[in-house]
Amino acid sequence: MNKQELIAKLKIIVKPYTTNFEAYDNLTEKTDFINDLNINSANLVDIILDIEEAFGVVIDNADMERMLDVKTSVEIIETKLAAK
């Protein structure tokens, strides 16, 4: 899976938790889940659980701490996929 495909898959995952749809439509690597998409912090854990299910990876606590934006999430998913 290349980076663009990965971002596209991640974009589908975050959609149900997003409340700023303009920022969602313009989503880039720089997009922040909380500051830009206005996602409730209690839903970040849902995004992490959804990522685990969709990509078949395990996100540990140290990775979870940094998963506040698209760029970092993509890097973490790429690393996990490469280690499979």
């Binding site: 912090s41 839903n43 854990v45 992490i48 659980l49 685990e52 701490e65 940094r66």
Partner: protein, 168 residues
């Protein structure tokens, strides 16, 4: 210092499924999970602990400038819990925060402070007056005293709460 967090229980039912597999394990410490397993009202306890973590994190973030998703590093202890309020503490690394949560049928509102004596200085304030500093943190400016005062804002569903410590 002060931080707060409000939870609209109806809204949480629309937004979150705390019963999904892995949810509590990712957010709560082993001790907290044990309390959740042993209570007859897990929903209230989950959102109580969550709002304690969020309120304490707002102070931690302001103190350290660190922005991370660290719910398990905010370790909650409940010191007293009645039907309408709860007193607790949250430890985050070397930092200790005290919390007071007001519990109603459809909401939880936690205020966290760094000094116990600050609880008597908490005031609700007008959101219209709020400015933001270069880090995006909210404050109000009191022209008569020529002082900046930090505030904490929380909104969820139908509720919005803005709190500050009274300037002495």
């Amino acid at each position: 210092m002060i931080g707060n967090d409000v939870v609209d229980i109806s809204q949480s039912r629309l937004e979150s499924n705390w019963q999904r597999s892995g949810f509590t394990q990712k957010i709560f410490t082993d001790d907290e999970q044990r309390c959740i397993t042993n209570t007859n009202d897990p929903e209230t306890l989950i959102w109580l602990l969550w709002s304690m973590k969020e309120a304490a994190y707002k102070i931690y973030n302001r103190q350290t400038g660190i922005r991370k998703y660290i719910p398990k590093k905010l370790e909650c202890t409940i010191l007293f819990k009645g039907n309408t309020y709860c007193i607790g503490q949250v430890i985050c690394f070397d930092n200790l925060y005290y919390t007071k949560t007001v519990i109603t049928n459809d909401s939880l509102h936690t205020i966290a402070v760094t000094k116990l004596s600050d609880f008597s200085n908490v005031v609700e304030t007008d959101k219209k007056l709020i400015l933001k500093n270069e880090f995006g943190l909210p404050y109000i400016f009191d022209g008569s005293k020529n002082k900046h005062q930090e505030v904490s804002v929380s909104n969820h569903g139908r509720f919005e709460k803005t709190v500050a410590l009274r300037m002495i």
